[in-house]
Symmetry: C3
Subunit: 654 residues, 3 copies
């Protein structure tokens, strides 16, 4: 378990190093993360490598027993490279190059970027390959953050055409047939005629746009894999990480594919950021952690845990005393192996002056410093428990292609796929039932409940696994807009919805409607939900039930004949179909029925009190976290505002 801090020695006078490292040790750290934005420091001019700064820092850190996480510096290219090859800079949608002076401004399809990346990474890896103090290498920084996953330059255009040529084996007619380019006379005679989906009139072909989304993702995955290959080639057995930013489900890159090239996923966990009125609610922070844990299906690291207000040009809510410390506990609880705070001392120069550190510019030890110190002191006692895996019986399943399909055609202005996933997640979070957020190609065997919100792209192989899951006793929860498209983002000619799942779910979708802000519709219960009434919104499908049991039916004129929510029993398990957006209370009733069916029992706790079990047998502990700004109680014991108590539990499994 590494408990560390992000330290940027290049930003401080050399004379401060010894005192800084002393204080880092006093804080309770056993590791530091360095070098992630240090390209120019290490290569001041093309080919002139100089590692003396980091050599010295590592030497002084080792002298104090500190381990090192080393970053490759590619997220911020040096100015001399941008000047020599302006084509390295990526482009906005309007065709303007991104200006040097920010970060993440390189194009993932630039040959020069690959060439210079190879040189600096090789040089670093060769230089440090025998340095035992380096316990992990971080590749680049926050891939795809802040729209850096998108570029409209001619390199990307050419690479996209090459990507399509390869995908369709050079057969342009296959592409035309697949995309249905006969629509609007868009047949291509050659791959070189294919445009990027840049601004046009009306909109681009949705199949082309899905391939563009896949291409964008592959561009980043390839770049990550390239760096990983280089490092593994030179440093066999190296531990490779990448520090993912938040919002992974909305990016033009599939982080689960990036993670395949890593040893461990890492996460930069920012529950509050400039311009946010308040921190994310605890369940949403938990969702982000559960999503990162799902990338590789195992515990992860936190590379950036915050201790104060954050923001570039605008700041916002300042975490209350003990609140950021509690977030550190929470991320530990939900699957973190190691944790680094961002950053030792807030920057006095450069764009992140208002991203607070553990120390501020005035270099005075105050509340934040002592909170980190006490957190490290406490948490290191539970290393054995926290090293163990988290095993959940419930999973929320996503798919990059389906998420991309909704970026392309949102269908309902109210539909936010991630928000939909969070609604299900919240139900289990509030009951302290462990839940995973996983990509569709994960193993499904360990689960009892699988929830598939808006998985619009129907993939036959995956559908087969789902049917088998339900037949063998699992509960499958499907939602509106599941299985509407084929893998090309086309509708499926001659098949009723949900495609290839209508019989299995026992229903068929006959009509649909997209709702807007302030619009909803009444619902009325039947069967196990008889007597229930409530409202729905966002989108609705008029379901014609066949052999499914109706749980909710529409209750407005014209649509009373149609079901809204159904359940069909399978050989051993069952399939629920939620044909519309549901208000929280109705969703609660359905998920309670699902939970009861699968004997999922949670741990009761007061509102805002999160309980997570870690470890097993007699070592097992309960981490009890009070997210409230006021005192609360758990199991008869008082919890101060934002307090986390770790208590032995009676041996039940996590």
């Amino acid at each position: 378990m590494f408990l560390g801090i992000d330290y940027y020695p290049e930003q401080w006078p050399a004379s401060m190093l010894e005192a800084d490292l002393d204080n880092i040790c006093e804080l309770g750290c056993n590791a530091i993360r360095i070098a992630e934005f240090g390209w120019h420091i290490m290569e001041k001019a093309e080919g002139q490598y100089d590692f003396s700064l980091f050599d010295h820092v590592i030497e002084r850190a080792k002298a104090r027993g500190l381990s090192i996480v080393m970053g490759t510096p590619t997220a911020a290219i040096p100015a001399w490279l941008a000047k020599k090859y302006p084509a390295v800079l990526s482009e906005f949608e309007n065709g303007a190059k991104r200006s040097f002076g920010g970060r993440h401004v390189y194009c993932f399809n630039s040959k020069e970027m690959y060439a210079y990346t190879e040189r600096i990474v090789r040089a670093m890896a060769e230089h440090y390959k025998n340095e035992k103090a380096i316990v992990a290498w971080q590749i680049d920084n926050e891939f795809g953050h802040e729209d850096s996953d998108m570029c409209y330059c001619s390199q990307c255009r050419d690479a996209f055409r090459a990507f399509l040529r390869e995908k369709f084996n050079g057969d342009i007619q296959a592409l035309n047939d697949t995309y249905g380019t006969a629509f609007w006379s868009q047949e291509y005679n050659d791959f070189d005629e294919i445009p990027l989906p840049a601004p046009t009139i009306t909109t681009h072909n949705p199949a082309l746009r899905l391939d563009w989304e896949r291409f964008r993702s592959e561009s980043i995955v390839n770049f990550a894999a390239f760096q990983a290959r280089l490092l593994r080639e030179i440093i066999p057995g190296v531990v490779l990480i990448h520090d993912f930013p938040g919002g992974g489900l909305t990016k033009h890159v599939d982080y689960s594919q990036v993670s395949r090239h890593l040893s461990l996923a890492a996460y930069n966990n920012y529950p509050v950021w400039g311009g946010q009125r308040e921190p994310l609610p605890p369940n949403e922070i938990a969702f982000g952690l559960d999503y990162i844990r799902g990338l590789k299906g195992k515990n992860f690291w936190i590379t950036e845990a915050i201790m104060g207000a954050q923001g570039h040009d605008v700041t916002g809510f300042s975490p209350r005393p003990d609140q950021a410390k509690m977030w550190a506990y929470q991320s530990m609880a939900r699957g973190r192996e190691s944790l680094f705070f961002i950053r030792y001392r807030g920057g006095t120069k450069g764009a992140e002056q208002f991203c607070c550190g553990v120390l501020d510019a005035d270099n005075v030890k105050r509340r934040k410093y002592y909170e980190v110190q006490s957190f490290f002191r406490d948490i290191r006692q539970y290393a054995p428990q926290l090293a163990g895996p988290i095993s959940s019986k419930v999973a929320i399943v996503y798919d990059y292609d389906s998420l991309a399909a909704f970026r392309i055609q949102r269908q309902s202005v109210l539909l936010d796929c991630e928000a939909e996933m969070k609604k299900y997640h919240k139900f289990f979070y509030e009951r302290n039932i462990p839940v995973d957020v996983i990509p569709a190609d994960s193993g499904l065997e360990a689960y009892k409940v699988l929830i598939l919100p808006q998985m619009i792209v129907a993939k036959p192989e995956f559908q087969k696994r789902l049917k088998s899951f339900a037949e063998r006793g699992g509960t499958l929860v499907l939602s509106y807009r599941d299985f509407v498209k084929d893998s090309h983002n086309n509708l499926v000619l001659g098949k009723q919805l949900p495609v290839d799942f209508d019989e299995f779910a026992g229903i068929c979708v006959t009509e649909t409607e997209s709702l807007q802000d302030g619009q909803d519709f009444p619902l009325i219960g039947e069967g196990s939900l008889a007597g229930r009434r409530g409202r729905g919104g966002i989108f609705r499908e008029m379901l014609e039930p066949r052999d499914a049991e109706v749980l909710l039916r529409y209750d407005d004129s014209f649509y009373r004949d149609f079901a809204a929510v159904t359940r069909k029993a399978q050989e051993k398990g069952s399939v629920y179909y939620l044909g519309c957006g549901l208000e929280e209370e109705l969703l609660r009733q359905i998920l309670e029925q699902v939970s009861a069916e699968q004997n999922l029992t949670g741990i009761p706790s007061a509102p805002g009190v999160e309980v997570v079990c870690r470890g097993s047998g007699k070592d097992a502990v309960r981490m009890v976290m009070n997210h409230n700004p006021c005192p609360a109680e758990y199991a008869g014991e008082a919890l101060a505002p934002f307090q986390c108590r770790i208590i032995p539990c009676s041996g039940e499994p996590a």
Copy 2:
């Protein structure tokens, strides 16, 4: 009377053609519209024409007695053309070319576009000139839709300069004098110095901007005329149509000028579209129909009538059972000769996956199919009545130049010229009094009431016709901002407002004020409106009455001496002047007085029930449409939600 459907055989497997045509016949169609986006199908590579697909479709359609509406395919240029001549692509305001991959992306001033258009249209026309099954040709598709009426490329810039050179007979000083370029030192020494009104600091010269608006319109009119000439040259007597989109009054093209080159106007009638919360209210749908009927002053076709929810990336409200069918009745009632539903089966591929067809992707006949079938069965009985003309005694009159002048200088942020026109229209709509929406160069003789909302440009010839209209017994309703500018979009030196109409209207405008959201002012009645009180907004003119009768006066401090609404009797008729925006109730009172003056009597009906008389003498019928989602009653007979009943009437003229 053609009752048909839009069919895109190029989008479906060839094997489906026979069954599709069978179903189209079963639906009750006697016609199909094809080919409007089929350029690449017919010319796969430059000069390689191949009409075999449509030949085959026409042959199989004819075998079933179906007629054909043939589209020229120019709205969607082929990719090979965009690749060979990138200059064919139009440009956004920021100078970026529109990307291939949408539609309507060509520049109307591209020489290459003209050249290739001529070749494909000639080839089609020569190929099909003797095909008797073709009952009409549609030129292009929805000219100017979705901002395709605007382009900032260098071809447009050069053509604009040529347009001005011609307009001013090559005399740059004449242009300078006309535009008043002495203002801000903008005198041009040469036509080649004249800019497009691209983004600048402050704003461009309003006279230049009006000429730009005229040039934009002429660019499209010329292109339409060019195609029309080609087709008429090759196919003498050909019936030519164009399918206009909605929103014609806000476009940078004068559809009434395009219509001069057509045999018939046609309309793509979308009462609801993606992102709309609800369908347009019935009176606004009617306004759109009345506007299209006014383009040529005669009955028109519907080329795209919808049957379900529509939208590109976002969908919205789904028309209720029978609602879209009722819209089909309504458009028939208000002057439609023939109607085609869009489209036989919704597309599974391409950008319009969420534009529903009569069938959905699953190809199952459901409610929508049977509604169309019953509509066709019913409506064909009334062909004689529907073939007759609609004659209105009331017209709302517009002028492209005046509408453009308000796009250039909106004056009040609340002023929406089309919305103003709809307020007057609604009054007559609700009383089931037929009303036309016509361009100012239409014949005025048949009318009793002419309403001229915001006709800011004063054209002497037209003003003479108006005065004569009022002197001969007509009632003229003028509004604030009528006759403020000359035909160059300049204010008129030394003339009081309304320019050249102050004496005739018996008033003069002394001061003006533009109101903003939430701002209004009190009004108090006099004379025939004595005792009335209400509010006004949007814009107001302080009227100094001369020999006009005051109907409403301002009732707030400082402005009590000024009139707001006046009436002046003429030799036989009268002129009303509405000097400010009026709340609905006050406008109602004024228009009732106008109606009474001209003995206009409507047909009383319950709210949401529209009644239109068609045919004459003993054949005359009343089409009674219930736009309500609940039952209503008319003449003692029940109307189901969205039902249309066609009943004989007692012989009164339509």
Copy 3:
């Protein structure tokens, strides 16, 4: 005292000149302003100078005893220049050139602009140098208005690099150290690698951005100085003015630096503009006047006083009868020496058709004409009083660098530095206590109270002057975010906040928080404010008081230990520190304490009634202005709506 009107003879038929000048005299004018946009009139083609139009106008004006204010015409370059050197046109952020056809479209770093400016200004100055009727020259027009202070062209890029090369004496490492470019690997090896802060990912370095802001300002100051040098060289003793637009505190140019090159500041005073719902409240108009007076610390001119509604494409509120006249009185009262109304007759052609003149296009003398006439008649009696200086005991102090720092990093979305200044200003305005708004390099000796809202950049020399001010008896009012940065826009390593002022203010800032819309926090009084309660917002600093007295403390959980507002007595004076945004009532209580401390007594008046004393001794008058749309009373005398009464006062100093 010049009482005049802006007259554009080039916009009217020559035949109107005599009558226009007669009417101008009848109006009571003794001066006209001409030629400010007349470049093409004077130089129709390169090098062909022709001053005959203005010669004639001046001759006819002189014949009537009118004086002339002459403008250099550079604000609107001629089309032939833009055509010959397109590089003269400035660029938007997206890289597009500003289109010819507006105004202010030239780049301040264009060599050609300098060359052609020199030629036209020299030619004009040589031509008119002996013309005694010309009483002042105006340079250009409204520098930096409407974003013309910003340009992203390659000339600006190169000039910016040269600016930095000079600033850092060619030492790129000095720049790297100063900017802290080690952050995000942004070290530059050469000045030619430095970007403009054009769009990028994340954001640019704040030190670079502050230098960019300084460079933008210097670009304009240099251009103004260049014209001033030319004119002074040719016309020794010339009176030079520039007509500043409103909003000077938010511009990318420091108007106080421009003013150093002028004889007098002038102001275009637009209390209402198109799209504004209502005129600025009287205190904000006064703020604008006080700010302009502060530019040179002396009386100024009004070059554009309005008489009616104004706007380019949209108009808005129309000033009520006597309201614009009252604004003329108000600007006179607050330090105006001379005043010109904009414009004699509103333009009939060109972009300002909806900027009303004293006459409208119809050329009829109405209310506005007679209001101006009566104003001129009245005000000329008070020339002696109005010529005297205004001396204030209170100053609100600003600093271009600090204002720029907040444009770069706003910190709180609610923080509007100008709005903060206006809050303090309003307190004194309402009590009719004279107050100055001055740049930080002004003399401070005459003041008793200095208020420094958000002066984030700490400049040692200025801080020394402030301390001395407080020690010698002055009251210093500091605010949150004072003295956080050094002069490079960096945080200051190892110093507590407020930097170098913590001891003097007796407090230290330990934590901060940025609030958002709808968020506030409770405050509770102590000491002299004991028992007071209220709310704060926008931003807060948790103050650790040392030897300062606490006036307000935070009253919410977690922060009760921290002070919000403090006061520390100095040798003779005192320092207040306002650590957060305060609601109006709390700010009032504090400023009343400040006022009492310094014996500042105002003149009581009813709400909306402004009283200003001018002149001294027995000549002194009180100008009493009723800003209300209803009658009010002062000193027992009735004031009509918008009336200004000038009454003798009992000799107290202004």
